[in-house]
Amino acid sequence: MNIMEHIAILVVITPLFGAFSTPFVSLAGKKAADIWVGIFSGLTFVFSILLGLKVLRSGIVIYTLGAPEPAIATVDYNGLIFPVRILLEVDALSALLALVISLIGFFAAIYSWRYMEHDTGVEKFYTLFLLLLTGMLGIVLTGDIFNMYVFLEIMSISAYALVAFRKETFEAVEAGIKYLVVGSAASTLILLAVAILYGVYGSLTIAQIAHLIEVSPSPLIWGALALYLTGFILKAGIVPLHMWLIDAHPAAPSSISALLSGVVIKTGAYAIIRIFFTLYGVEVMNRALIGWIIVVIAVITMFVGGSLGLIQQDLKRLLAYSSVAQMGYIALGIGVALIAFNTTAGDAGLVGALFHLLNHAIMKGMLFLIAGVILHQLGTRNINEMGGLIKKMPITSACFIIGGLAIAGVPPFNGFVSKLILYEASAMISPALAVIAIISSALTLGMYLRVIQTAFLGRAPETLKDIRDPPASMLIPIVILAILIVIFGILPSLPVDSIITPAVEAVKNQASYLSAVLP
């Protein structure tokens, strides 16, 4: 069997197999389970890189399940040729998201080795962890709206269980139940939207529905769009449906917080992009109205996240609010791209949104891993109880300062570059938007300066005497992510030219997404 031919499905089924084989491997001890999970998340990462290379080299990759050949997506029924099979359709946008997800997933898995050493039931943790990875990768790779819902549920249900994993703490169980209820409500809305689209067009393949919407737009699909948007706004943690995020992300174990804040909410952003630009297409929708709705929501999100993050005393809660604010920037880019589609401003908005998505995944993944280190070493999440950590744990503190400054948009780190692109894109639409975005950035800077000033600089309280840098398996993922932040900041054209621009081209080019599947 040729591995490159099956690379698209391998990205999804590798973590799936790892998930269900972990309970058997863990019979041989915790070390074996650790290494097993490391191998499988690492393999997923390697396959994602290979998939990305294939997409960059030969365009959109189609993989059809149950067909005699991967590229055959259609069925011939009495001379009528149409796509009915379950298929994965991977363009540059999907490949970019898959790369980011498996990168953060790999580092979080390695980090979990030592971080979870005091917990019981680690094999269940690893199973759910790999299922979470499977769900996210499935959402971004699939070319079928019902499969997208199924993978969304796989992802969400493992996320609910993982948030409540430390079931002996009251906070985790409460956050898990809240996340479960609101997440199920959002999933139901998404399922209803899928049902409406299937009822109207009799198909579940994204390309086929997009083609039919172009040919004959029915008034019902706008109701489906509203349902879709509400569901994915909740999954993406955008205001006013961000409240579960504030409870759930701090309550989860830190390696899971890194995944939840780094990439799980990004799948919501991915789905919004995919629905707007591919499923519905910008031709049939009232771009100005929908774009302005997104922009207004984004502006509110940035302000709420930034201003409420400023008054938090809990480090992980502060990071969660920061995630809300940064999702606002990504939504701003999407909205600007909708309003000014196919102009300089629109392209810059998309580049900014996708680059900020990549940057925020790296930065927030790293910051949550560091918050986990602090929780692991100090046993507290309250900022006011910390102090002078830079003398006790220099490497961790340096990484946190880099990450905090980067996420606040301080040059020369990567967060500044993506925010600069977003400022300029939104200024071309309306200068007021850019002003609000810069003010929100100042709020973000304020909340990270508070942490840096209080926790890392200054004098250490008497209680923190024998604190050290964490063991290597926890430190190495953090350091690598910090190095990535600096590299992407100093050489921004390296990621933008190689992976972001192809993804933007893929988003803009709806016709090639359709023609890859349709006869």
Partner: protein
């Protein structure tokens, strides 16, 4: 040029910032070193070394930590009654509030998109 990137209608070159940062760090370090050389050493036993802090009592060294709540206090004070009180109340953690917001957003989006979404 590998460094730098086109940003819509401009060009961003991080190299110049890196150089600037390095220069600033070197300058700051030199100033700090110079100040440390020139400053009079602290003599606790002498009367004139007592610190006069605008009429307040002398600050104890233990209290010199700078708690996080003091940063941006002006901003927070200004928005205390206008924004923070209601916003913190809204994040009550009560599940029905969360569901309420889902319904509200769904209604707004339904009204806006279902009637104005089509081109």
């Amino acid at each position: 040029m590998v460094f730098g990137i086109e940003t819509g209608f401009g060009y961003w070159d991080p190299l110049i910032w890196v150089v600037l940062f390095v220069l600033m760090f070197i300058g700051g370090y030199l100033i700090a070193k110079y100040a440390a050389q020139r400053a009079t050493p602290f003599r606790a036993d002498e009367l004139e070394s007592e610190i006069f802090l605008s009429g307040w009592g002398e600050t104890v060294e233990k209290d010199l930590r700078f708690p996080s709540k003091h940063l941006y206090w002006g901003f927070r004070k200004a928005l205390e009654s206008a924004w923070y009180r209601s916003a913190v109340e809204e994040h009550s953690g009560i599940l029905t509030t969360y569901i309420f917001w889902i319904v509200i957003l769904l209604l707004i989006l339904m009204l806006l998109i279902a009637f104005g979404g089509a081109m």
